[in-house]
């Protein structure tokens, strides 16, 4: 089947099988290397993407659902202006995750900040509960996201 959608701001036209999962389409056919297709059950969270504005795990979504969708992955977020806020927040709180789960943590943070630029601890915890990596100190990660939100608010007022 033929699919077309927006991936990280670019139009994509691709042919795939009806049974393909979105994570496999993105990772294997479109070379989105930040995704780690591993659990295929939405447990580890290492295939997190922003799909039509919502945070989703791409292993749980059939590829055909991407028809006409807008998808953002880590590769797209690092090129956006807002990435600097996330990077700064993580650095200041020493909450940089390992290289394996960095991409999913950045996508999750971006998703939180898109919906609310002043998230509380509980809201962040709720979203983080969908991911798992042994490197992650969830307490630190929460602080890192709160700090990133602080920088995002400042940036939106034109402050550095």
């Amino acid at each position: 089947m033929r699919l077309h959608f927006i991936l990280n701001g670019r139009y994509v036209d691709v042919t795939t099988q009806p049974s393909t999962r979105l994570v496999d389409l993105l990772h294997d056919q479109l070379d989105i290397e930040s995704l780690h297709p591993a659990c295929y059950g939405g447990e580890c969270g290492n295939c997190a993407i922003i799909f039509n504005g919502d945070l989703v795990y791409s292993c749980l979504i059939p590829a055909f659902a991407a028809q006409d969708a807008s998808i953002y992955t880590y590769e797209g977020i690092v090129k956006s202006a807002g990435y600097a806020d996330i990077q700064r927040g993580f650095q200041e709180e020493n909450s940089f995750p390992c290289r394996y789960c960095l991409a999913s943590k950045v996508v999750i943070t971006q998703s939180i900040l898109e919906n609310n630029q002043d998230p509380d601890r509980q809201e962040i915890m709720e979203v983080l509960s969908g991911t798992y990596c042994s490197c992650t100190n969830l307490n630190k990660m929460t602080k890192g996201i709160i700090k990133a939100a602080y920088h995002r608010r400042r940036s939106s007022y034109g402050r550095k």
């Binding site: 290397e33 020493n94 915890m125 709720e126 798992y132 042994s134």
Partner: protein, 688 residues
């Protein structure tokens, strides 16, 4: 992503062979015959007979087969390899192999096990073995158990191999690239100089990245050797989870004799580890467990025996902590029990014993930090008041079933873990680090294992800059492969932070001395020093066993819901002395992560769905959210000494304090982890 350090699944090329392992379907038996006649033509088949060299993987004098030649010792053991240029055809091809087994073998169980299954034993005996102390003494016997812990095999584990300029190149996420090089050379019967290993990204890891990369690299390399084409073998997440290493379960029996003052006169300790089918790294595990069984208690007459029991399970030994977490759990729960039988506060009892300033191997600790750590953590947690109040409540309560309020308890544990190996490398094991100062005053540090955590790299840079009087920007940690980097040994057991940091210091000190006497560039290599007989004797287990020690004391407060029997952690207070700390914020983060991991293990959580910090709101019970217990971490003496590991000491002390607290809350002696509500219910039923 960091393109300079890709994961192994990113390596692929046109025309490469995909390799898969055919695993044993039975847990024990003998391979009678196999039939591959129905395999498609494009699928290649390899057995142990195709190996040109040794059919074994060796690790510090212990071995396991690469492919089972005849005997099968656990379900999932690698038997054969299949290779094809199409990955889709391999799954179907696996089903077409017919294997006949002789299964007239009994399974090797852990409980019960026979004496034939003991494959290694370590004894640590001090003083007399006489145990008759007459009246006025109490004998306390207890048994403790911990179960296995499995990591989630999410990060890719595999190997990609190909020929380049008549040399075999291997990409694999190993924590010890030189072990991969040696293993591949042994299996293929080629010179190690013909093999180049390039480390792919090994994070995160629990211990499975020390020798499993060597195993899969040798398998992929065999296909490349036989076909001349590139080959890639990637283990599936299920294979990593089921068949690579796990935390070894243990059964501990302790018998103590204490006098009326609560002083331990004698103790017999017997630990039995289920190490699975093959003993990889078992000797190190047994020695570490024996040392942690004595901990810092000065017991004049003690007999510790630690045994490795071979079973029909996959190998379970090389896992984070390497036997220390299991052993310290039993030691510290038992010591709290001894304090209780002596009618002493466990905090005071531990402080009293810590004042002896010796560890079990006889080594004197000149600056024993434990009394101070204990005092600090007891004060910060308000331990004395809470312990007395909860004890009173427990004694006044007639039954847990009639209790209308939540039940609370508090527990304390303390001790040390070691950084580095008890076996100091000598002879073949010249593990070390090199450094080069060039004519532009730039220092390059060469370490054989990449993926050194950023905070540790910062420590090295600051240390080197401080010694040489240059800026930290002039210090670089070099990327490379086994052609350009030295063998630095496996990256585990606090090696990067404690052992390697002191090597960096020694390299820089040498360069400083030679700097204005020799022309630049100056290159220096420093090995991990061999053991000196007067410092540590590994045979008699006497002296200081580790490069450095990390000390800690942890208090955990819990609450138990009498209706659901669901434990909740109200708080964890921890004090550590891990030597010099450059970045306190990072150190706190590591300690907190270790504490959360330990709580997950103690409460029987499946990794990935941590129940212990989940909660729900009554308004919306379907919404689960995470609620982390408050953790308070403090460091002592953080401006002196050699930096030591933090994660392991944090992970090792929490389970004992949690179980002790749970015992006080429920009024039942719990003696195993993980402790689930179902198990608590069982204990309470047994009590009534």
């Amino acid at each position: 992503m960091d393109d300079n350090f890709p994961f192994v699944d990113k390596y692929k090329t046109d025309g490469m062979f995909h390799v898969q392992i055919v695993r044993a379907e039975i847990p024990r038996g003998r391979i009678e015959s196999w039939d591959t006649s129905k395999l498609p033509e494009e699928v290649l088949f390899f057995s142990a007979e195709d190996l040109p060299g040794k059919n074994e993987l060796s690790l510090l004098s212990e071995t396991m087969p690469l492919l089972a030649a005849k005997e099968v010792n656990y379900q999932g053991e690698p038997l054969f390899l299949l290779a094809s240029k199409s990955s889709e055809s391999l799954e179907e091809a696996k089903k077409k192999i017919r294997i006949d087994y002789e299964t007239d073998f009994s399974l090797l169980a852990f409980e019960p096990s026979s004496s034939d299954q003991v494959i290694d034993r370590v004894s640590l005996v001090r003083g007399s073995e006489e145990r008759n102390y007459g009246s006025g003494t109490q004998i306390i016997e207890a048994q403790y158990r911990t179960s296995s812990e499995t990591h989630i095999g999410r990060a890719p584990l595999g190997a990609f191999t190909y020929w380049e300029n008549e040399r075999l190149v291997v990409h694999t996420p190993s924590h010890w690239p030189y072990h991969v090089r040696g293993s591949v050379a042994d299996v293929l019967k080629i010179s190690p100089s013909k093999v180049k290993v390039i480390q792919s990204n090994p994070s995160p890891a629990y211990g499975e990245k020390v020798f499993y990369p060597s195993l899969v690299s040798a398998m992929a390399a065999l296909v490349t050797l036989k076909t001349g084409s590139p080959a890639r073998l990637l283990l599936s997440p299920e294979e990593v989870e089921r068949f690579t290493t796990k935390k070894a379960p243990v059964e501990v029996n302790r018998t103590s004799v204490i006098d009326e003052n609560g002083t331990i006169l004698a103790e017999d300790v017997h630990l039995r580890f289920n190490v699975g089918a093959y003993p990889m790294f078992t000797r190190e595990l047994l020695i570490r467990a024996a040392i942690s069984s004595g901990n810092f208690y000065h017991i004049p007459n003690i007999n510790i025996t630690v045994e490795a029991i071979r079973t029909s399970a996959p190998p379970m030994n090389l896992y984070r902590g390497l036997g220390v977490a299991q052993s310290l759990f039993a030691t510290e729960v038992h010591s709290s029990r001894l304090a209780e039988f002596s009618q002493l506060n466990p905090g005071d009892w531990k402080i009293e014993h810590a004042s002896k300033r010796r560890i079990i191997t006889g080594s004197e600790i000149k600056k024993m930090p434990l009394p101070e750590l204990l005092k600090q953590v007891l004060e910060k947690s308000d331990f004395y008041r809470k312990h007395s109040a909860y004890e009173l409540t427990r004694k006044r309560r007639s039954s847990i079933k009639t209790s209308r309020s939540t039940l609370r308890g508090i527990g304390v544990s303390s001790g040390f873990t070691g950084n580095g190996f008890t076996e100091k490398p000598t002879g073949d094991f010249n593990w070390g680090i090199s450094a080069v100062l060039d004519s532009k005053d730039r220092l390059s540090i060469e370490c054989g294992t990449l993926n050194i955590p950023r905070a540790i790299q910062d420590i090295w840079k600051r240390k080197a800059a401080e010694i040489l009087g240059i800026s930290t920007d002039s210090v670089e940690i070099i990327d490379g492969d086994t052609d350009s980097l030295p063998d630095s040994g496996p990256m585990m057991l606090g090696m990067p932070v404690s052992v390697y940091t002191s090597l960096v210091e020694r390299c820089c000190t040498y360069i400083r001395k030679q700097r204005f006497h020799k022309p630049l560039p100056i290159r220096v290599h420093r090995n991990i020093p061999a053991a000196r007989k007067n410092v540590w004797n590994r045979e008699s287990l006497e002296g200081l066993p580790y490069q450095s020690l990390s000390w800690g004391a942890v208090v955990t407060e819990v609450e138990l819901d009498p209706l659901t029997l669901m434990p909740e952690v109200r708080g964890v207070w921890a004090s550590f002395d891990c030597g010099l700390i450059y970045d306190t914020s990072y150190a706190v983060s590591i300690a907190e992560a270790g504490i959360y991991e330990a709580l997950a293990w103690s409460m029987g959580e499946e990794r990935g769905s941590p129940r212990y910090y989940q909660d729900y709101s009554l308004e919306n019970p379907e919404t689960l959210y995470l609620r982390l217990p408050p953790v308070s971490v403090h460091f002592l003496n953080q401006s002196r000494g050699v930096p030591g590991g933090i994660n392991e000491i944090a992970e090792s002390l929490v389970p004992a304090s949690f179980i002790t607290a749970m015992s006080q809350a429920a009024g039942v002696y719990f003696d195993r982890i993980p402790l689930t509500p179902e198990l608590i219910h069982g204990y309470l039923e047994e009590q009534t």
